[in-house]
Amino acid sequence: MNVLEATGLEVRYGDLTAVDGVALTLAEGETLAVLGANGAGKSTLLAALAGTHLPTSGSVLLDGEPVTRVPAHRRVRRGIALVPEGRRIFGSLTVEENLLMGRYPKRPGPWDLRAVYDMFPQVAEMRDRRGSVLSGGQQQAVAIGRALLANPRVLLLDEASLGLAPTVVTQIYDAVRRITAAGTTALVVEQDLDQALRVADRVQCLLGGRTVLEAPAAGLDRDTVADAYFGITHPPPPPR
């Protein structure tokens, strides 16, 4: 059974339709990369999946159960954890307190503080520092650790590379690879094509709020993705 399944999702901001009839599936243990340019609707799609912005129509199923109208704070208790764009670290809390906030839903599973510190040793060294003094890369590591501590059924990662130096981005995606290789089901929204293709099993490309390409990541031609990304060629209709 699919861990996450969305059909006919339409999400609006006022009069603007940001996501226009998108469907996606995530199988157990799979990593899906959602690609697209700015304004393609990637983050909005994630918001609808995480429950931070509810869709106007369509449905979201988690392990076959509908969660379409469930607000974000209850959705994470059921196993959808979001690493938000911009990290959203709690500035006045220490690093360890930030991570412990991930334990708030009290979901059982393999991830505990020790496992996160093993994954991100530099975070362990900073455990008593306040969130506000961290660098962008450290904040990203804490944000990922915080989401992992919820022991999610599916991890949603929004633009993890945004505003980070290339070497830091590589480190972050090294960690993402290890996390997904350990069996965590993940959906990665990314503008950095190379990093996305490193971690993804499958790729779904959005343009103007619609799916324009859906393909396995293995053997995927970079130019094909780039064309779909910018809408240069006429892509085949998305498979249903």
Partner: protein
């Protein structure tokens, strides 16, 4: 010796002010609402305990009843009034003023309601011998009731501080204060957490109101003065810092008693002047953010 006495009495008075300001500081720290109904709600708590005492309940039992009732009231007021106002403010249909205006409405309505029910006569919660009891200290006399108030204030503030610093719920409350949206993403319901904060604030406010009612003649309009002093304490101590609130209470108490020592008519004025001076010289308050670990940030 008069000056020393003024100093000691000022510190003791500061205990009452700090206890009054604790709830105002907490609500502001967690959700940036200045609750203008704070003072009249404290007066309401004083009236409720007065009624219970007049019904024959011992004072301690009246407190045990009134404090949880106010906690429940706080939860309900937050869910029913402040949360919708906050949602409006964030939706920008009425600007950031919405919660402030709602609390103002509550203050005005409640003051009038109290006048309807209890008239404008001044009252005092009878405390028997406690009101005049004093401990001799050298040539000074320490009032037992102000001393108890100061101790209660310190215990309450330390307790709230520990709750915020050490418990999972307190941590979640600080997280919501930092970023309510991000807190929702990790499973915290901000609306519930706001209501828990207000429940806690109302509980401390009720306790403060009872102590005010025991030491001072109060009437329905007394809430204005209570709000003013509590607000001054919060500003002097630093917005959102609870230890700052305790310090701010003591500073305001000292300013008033020392001012009154200089000129008996000018005690309250001296407090206002210190408040203004702090606003001008250190607008962030005496205890600024970041120096106290685990305080709710402003």
């Amino acid at each position: 010796m008069d000056w020393l006495n003024a100093g000691v009495q000022g510190v003791l008075l500061g205990g009452q002010y700090a206890l009054l300001a604790c709830g105002l500081s907490l609500i502001f720290g967690v959700m940036r609402i200045v609750n203008l109904a704070h003072g009249v709600l404290a007066v309401l708590a004083a009236y409720l305990s007065l009624v219970l005492v007049q019904q024959g309940l011992p004072l301690w039992l009246a407190i045990v009843v009134v404090v949880p009732v106010f906690a429940a009231l706080g939860y309900a007021v937050q869910r029913g009034l402040f949360n919708p106002a906050l949602a409006q403010a964030r939706g920008r249909t009425s600007g950031e003023l919405a919660p402030l205006l709602v609390s103002f409405g509550v203050a005005v309505a409640l003051t009038n309601l109290l006048q309807e029910v209890f008239s404008a006569d001044t009252r005092k919660i009878p405390t028997g011998e406690l009101a005049s009891a004093g401990l001799p200290l050298g040539q000074l006399s320490i009032g037992v009731l102000p001393l108890i108030t100061l101790i209660v204030a310190a215990v309450v503030i330390a307790g709230v501080q520990l709750f915020l610093a050490r418990t999972a719920t307190g941590r979640a409350m600080r997280a919501v204060a930092d970023d309510a949206g991000a807190a929702a993403m990790v499973g915290v319901d901000p609306k519930h957490m706001y209501a828990v904060a207000t429940a806690l604030a109302f509980a401390t406010l009720a306790l403060a109101g009872v102590f005010v009612g025991m030491s001072t003649q109060f009437s329905p309009g007394h809430g204005d003065l209570v709000l003013l002093f509590a607000f001054e304490v919060v500003i002097i101590g630093g917005l959102g810092s609870l230890w700052g609130t305790l310090a701010g209470g003591v500073v305001l108490g000292l300013a008033q008693t020392i001012g009154a020592q200089i000129d008996p008519q000018s005690g309250v004025l001296a407090g206002h002047i210190v408040f203004l001076a702090v606003l001008v010289v250190r607008p962030g308050g005496l205890i600024t953010r970041g120096t106290t670990s685990g305080s709710v940030p402003a």
